[in-house]
Amino acid sequence: MKKIISAADAGKLIKNGASIMIGGFLKCGTPTRIIEELLAAGTHDLTLIANDTSYPDSDRGRLISEKRIKKAIVAHIGTNPETGKQFHNGEIEVELVPMGTLVERIRAGGAGLGGVLTPTGIGTVVEKGKQSLEINGKKYLLEMPLKADIALIYATRADRFGNAYLEGSTRNFNTVMATAAQTVIVETDELVDECLDPNMVTIPGVFIDYIVA
C-alpha cells in the first residue's frame, strides 16, 4: 500500500533547488492541485522538466510567471510568453529539446539506459556540443538520460497500490515520468476503494511512491 498524502504535504516534499518532472501536455493531464501547493509553499530555484511551459496563468506556467524556475528543459515554450521573456532577459535558463528526444531521454533515465541514439536534430543546432555516431551509414546524435528528484504525475483513477489509469490524451509524459524520478507522486481525480482491474492499469504502482487523492 502506498502512502496517501494531501496536496499540501506533496508540495512540501519538494525542496528549493530540486529538479521536478511535471506530466501534462499543455493543460491536459497536468497535476494541478500539487502545483498550486508548490506555489503556495514558495519553493524556488527549481529545474523543470516538462513537455511545455503551459500558459502564463495556469499550472506549470505559473511556476514560470512567479519566477520559481531557474532552468526549464522542455520541447515548447510558445504558449507561455513569460518563458520567452525571462529567457531573453537571462533570468531563466531554457534547454529546448525535440519532443521525441525529450521523451526518450526520460525513458533512458527511468529504464537504466546510458543514453539514446536518435537521428532527430542531425544537421541542426541541436547537434551542438553532442557526440554523433554513424551506424550502418546513418548519423545519430547521442542524447543523455534525464532523471529528476521528484515527478508529479496525473491519474484519472488510482488504487491504494499506486496503480493508475489515465483516460483520453492525458497519458502523454505522465507514463514515462513515473519511471524517472527519485520520488514519484501521483495526483488522482479518483481514488478507488478496491483495486483497479489489472487490465486497466496504465501505470503500474511499482513506480509510485505517494498518492494525492
Binding site: 499543455l26 520541447a75 529567457f87 514515462v176
Partner: protein, 221 residues
C-alpha cells in the same frame, strides 16, 4: 493577382488534401496544416495522428460534448472517430520517428532546394521551441510543406535556408497558393502552377533553382 488570406489557405489546404491516400496515417502541424482535414473526402479513411497522444482525431466537439481529457496538440478539445486510439508520448514518437506515419504536413518559415526546412525559430525574435517538428520531419515517410508563397514581401523558397534548420534534406513537396514544387536531387521541380499566376510570378518570387518542365500542369483543384 491578389488573394486574401482565406483564399490562400483554402487553395493550399485543398491541394495538400489531394496528396493523402486511402488508409494513410497523417500528422498535421498547427495552423494552416490543420485545415487540410476539412478537405479530406468523408468517404476516404484517413487517420489523423496528434502528437500528444491520439490517432483518429475526429470533428470539433459540440459545446456540450467537450471532454478536457481529449485534446489535440494545440490543447484544443477534439473528438475521436471510429478506430481511434489513445497512447502516451513514448508511443506517439515511436510512431513519428519510427517511420509509421505516412505523411506529415507542416508550415515553414523557409525551405530550400536541398529539402532543408526552417520552421521553429527566428533568433532573437521568436523562439517557441521545436516541439515535435524535428522528429516529425525526420521520421514521417513523406514531408509536405504547406505555406504561403511569401511572407509579406520576403522570399521563403531559397537556395539555402538562413534560419536555424528543423531538419536537413527531409522535405519532399512544397505546396503554396502559387505552385507545387517537388524536391529532387537536381533542384526544385515546378510540378504545378496556379493558373491565376504567370510563370514570371513564380520565378521572380523563388530564389531556389527551378526545373521548369516544357508542359506546365495547372494546380489540381
Amino acid at each position: 493577382m491578389e488573394l486574401n488570406k482565406e483564399q490562400i489557405r483554402e487553395i493550399i489546404a485543398k491541394r495538400v488534401a489531394k496528396e493523402l491516400h486511402e488508409g494513410d496515417y497523417v500528422t498535421l502541424g498547427i495552423g494552416l496544416p490543420t485545415e487540410v482535414a476539412n478537405y479530406i473526402p468523408p468517404s476516404m479513411h484517413i487517420m489523423i495522428q496528434s502528437e500528444n497522444g491520439v490517432v483518429g482525431v475526429g470533428a470539433k466537439p459540440s459545446p456540450d460534448n467537450i471532454d478536457p481529457k481529449i485534446t489535440n496538440a494545440g490543447g484544443i478539445p477534439v473528438t475521436t472517430k471510429k478506430g481511434a486510439a489513445f497512447f502516451d508520448s513514448m508511443t506517439s514518437f515511436t510512431m513519428i520517428r519510427g517511420g509509421h506515419i505516412d505523411a506529415t504536413v507542416l508550415g515553414a518559415l523557409q525551405v530550400d532546394q536541398e529539402g532543408n526546412i526552417a520552421n521553429w525559430m527566428v533568433p532573437g525574435v521568436l523562439v517557441p521551441g521545436m516541439g515535435g517538428a524535428m522528429d516529425l520531419v525526420v521520421g514521417a515517410k513523406k514531408v509536405i510543406v504547406a505555406m504561403e508563397h511569401m511572407s509579406k514581401n520576403n522570399i521563403k523558397i531559397l537556395k539555402k535556408c538562413t534560419l536555424p534548420l528543423t531538419a536537413a534534406h527531409e522535405v519532399d513537396l512544397i505546396i503554396t497558393e502559387r505552385c507545387v514544387l517537388r524536391v529532387t536531387e537536381k533542384g526544385l521541380l515546378l510540378e504545378e502552377i496556379n493558373p491565376l499566376f504567370s510563370l514570371e510570378d513564380i520565378t521572380s518570387t523563388v530564389e531556389a533553382d527551378l526545373i521548369i518542365p516544357p508542359h506546365l500542369q495547372t494546380i489540381a483543384a
